[in-house]
Amino acid sequence: METQKVTIKNKTGIHARPASIFVKAASGFKSDITVNKGTSKASAKSLINILALGLAKDSELEITASGDDEKEAVQTLVDLINSKFGEE
């Protein structure tokens, strides 16, 4: 199992566009990937649940993956969030 903490930096948070990019990237990995925000949890491969988490700027998350490509999965998703998905 691989886990990393990351903070949302996008000014407008994770709305439909970054969420889609995030979910698309997550779906490319074999591992099971979960996103934890406080006590809420969501599968990184489910768009509706990622949107429903309401990830605004400064939200602190924990991304956890479990599977063959767990390290790569978590790192890719963390990098994506840090790159602010090309937004402000």
């Binding site: 930096k9 000014k11 407008t12 948070g13 994770i14 709305h15 439909a16 566009r17 969420a19 889609s20 979910v23 698309k24 599968s43 489910s46 768009l47 509706i48 649940n49 949107l51 429903a52 309401g54 990830l55 605004a56 700027k57 990098d79 840090n82 790159s83 602010k84 090309g86 937004e87 402000e88």
Partner: protein
């Protein structure tokens, strides 16, 4: 006259068509007579039909508008594929023996409730996407194929309580000249799409749907955020003229996008953009900038608790370089000082922060901070056409020191086996008079100059433009300022180097003719000023568009 929030600039004069709210009636009951397999099949088919419809809308938007705007429909398709969304509805049908419509309605209701509890307003508004998909599913289930918004007459003004992303995407621009809604704000989907489609719109009007009747003649002013219902002849004529003028000017400016400007010797005059973050890129590309003449990097450092690390910086630089293709991107290193507090950086209390410990002085004193940025820049350099610029250089010594640290970073990265571009131009901002006055010496060592007129003028005239009592002294066209600018450009050219300008003066109509005369090679400004600047330059017969 009704007022609302101006959502999309422009004018529309036409006849009202009121779009009725979606009221999809379905009457299936939770009963033992539900054929689960049949309901599941109905739902699965509706999901497939919805996917196909949204795909078509996505393609239409992609070709007619752009890839960015089409992405929201990509998210709709993903929702339709999401096992925890539509998948959950299908399971619901099987488990609870309810009809497909009820399952979808429950889905919409569940998520409406969840989204309603999201604090952040912008994110909460994204609920519109979920509703759009849900409504589409229900429509497909009830067999309602007819779309109200197709088959409209010309010069229609669509009036609705709200317009979903799908609704807006399908507006036929040749028929719909504007739209008005009761609810929504500048960041609603419909507003964003309206701006991209360039359909004038006013939103958040509260009760426009009951203030008008089908067929009413309305003037929509998307700039002021007003709608005039059944105007008199005089008002109508006035607006017809305003509209005509506005559209002609817009067309003329648009025709300049991506056009290269040449002087009488066939040399290209670069018109570039200043940006404050990667978010500004879309405007840069939209306005056809020749490059980025100033990428301010302070956004990476402000409003946060900790220093931005190398990876985070690298990601931002990379994205901008990639998006600009091979067009030049001049990135300015950290230009911060005592006037802006950073929580994580100890900065002295100074009486005179603008003459103090800031920008490159700070970076040279804190090389560990400087190196993080420089390493990130060097790593990103392989993704595009990077040029690095040091701000607030007052002497050659500072430049040599800064370049020394840059070279150290390059050597480190080489040892680490990290690829770095071989052709990175290194230049300086000329904003301190001593740099302009010794431009002859500096020009031998730098690859380029970029004149930062905002500060150059202030330091030269010793007047703060923000100080009402003395701001009248801040004069871009002061002979002393012009002398310094001329000197800087000429000394650069003597050494075969280019000289640009990234201060406000570059887009100043009064200054442009003089700057052209001095031989300024690059004018960099806010993206929204680019087309107007091109227009100004072209009004001089010595300048032409490259054919």
């Amino acid at each position: 006259m009704k007022k609302g929030i101006a959502a999309s600039k422009g004018y529309g004069i036409g006849y009202v068509f009121i779009k009725k709210p979606e009221e999809i009636k379905f009457d299936c009951n939770i009963s033992e007579n539900i054929d689960v397999e049949e309901e599941k099949l109905k739902l699965v088919n509706a999901i497939a039909a919805s996917k196909e419809q949204v795909s078509r809308i996505k393609d239409k938007v992609e070709t007619e508008v752009g890839i960015e705007e089409a992405l929201v429909f990509e998210s709709h398709i993903m929702l339709l594929d999401d096992p925890e969304f539509t998948g959950a509805a299908v399971e619901n049908v099987a488990k609870n023996k309810i009809c497909a419509e009820n399952a979808v309605q429950e889905l919409i209701d569940t998520y409406t409730a969840i989204f309603a509890s999201i604090d952040d307003e912008y994110l909460r508004e994204r609920m519109a996407d979920v509703k759009d998909v849900g409504t589409r599913l229900l429509k497909n289930l009830s067999g309602e194929a007819e779309d109200e918004l197709s088959g409209l007459a010309e010069n229609t003004i669509v009036v609705a309580h709200d317009l979903t992303p799908s609704d807006t995407a399908q507006l036929d621009k040749s028929k719909v000249v504007a739209f008005l809604t009761d609810i929504g704000g500048k960041t609603s989907h419909s507003a964003i799409m309206a701006r991209t489609l360039e359909i004038p719109a006013v939103v958040g009007m509260a009760d426009i749907t009951v203030a008008v009747r089908n067929g009413d003649l309305v003037i929509v002013d998307g700039i002021k955020g007003e709608a005039i219902i059944n105007p008199d002849e005089e008002t109508l004529n006035r607006y017809r003229t305003i509209k005509k003028t506005y559209e002609a000017e817009k067309k003329q400016l648009k025709s300049l996008v991506g056009k290269n400007i040449l002087d009488k010797n066939g040399n290209h005059i670069e018109i570039a953009a200043n940006i404050g973050s990667p978010d500004d890129i879309s405007k840069v590309l939209e306005n056809g900038a020749d490059g980025i003449g100033l990428f301010r990097t302070e956004f990476l450092y402000m409003d946060r608790e900790t220093m931005p690390d190398e990876d985070e910086q690298y990601a931002s630089y990379k994205i901008v370089l990639e998006n600009m293709d091979n067009k030049p991107v001049v990135i300015r290193t950290l230009d911060i000082g005592g006037d802006k507090r950073l929580k994580y950086l100890e900065m002295p209390d100074e009486l005179n922060p603008f003459l103090g410990y800031r920008a490159t002085r700070l970076c040279l004193d804190r090389p560990e901070i400087f190196k993080i940025q420089l390493r990130a820049l060097l790593r990103a350099s392989v993704y595009g056409n990077l040029k690095i610029m040091f701000p607030m250089i007052s002497s050659l010594r500072e430049f040599i020191q800064a370049k020394g640290i840059l070279n150290e970073c390059r050597a480190e990265l080489n040892t680490e086996g990290v690829p770095v571009s071989d052709s990175i131009e290194i230049g300086i901002m000329v904003e301190i008079p001593s740099a302009a006055l010794t431009a002859d010496e500096l020009a031998k060592y730098v690859d380029f100059f970029s004149i930062g007129t905002n500060d150059l003028i202030q330091y030269t005239i010793a007047a703060d433009r923000m100080n009402e009592k003395v701001s009248y002294l801040y004069e871009p066209m002061h002979p002393a300022v012009l002398k310094l600018i001329k000197m800087t450009i000429e000394e650069a050219h003597k050494q075969g180097k280019w000289c640009g300008m990234c201060g406000e003066m570059a887009s100043d109509e009064a200054a442009i003719p003089t700057l052209l005369e001095y031989g300024l090679d690059e004018f960099s400004m806010s993206a929204s000023s680019i087309l107007n600047t091109k227009k100004i330059i072209l009004s001089n017969p010595d300048y032409r568009i490259e054919s």
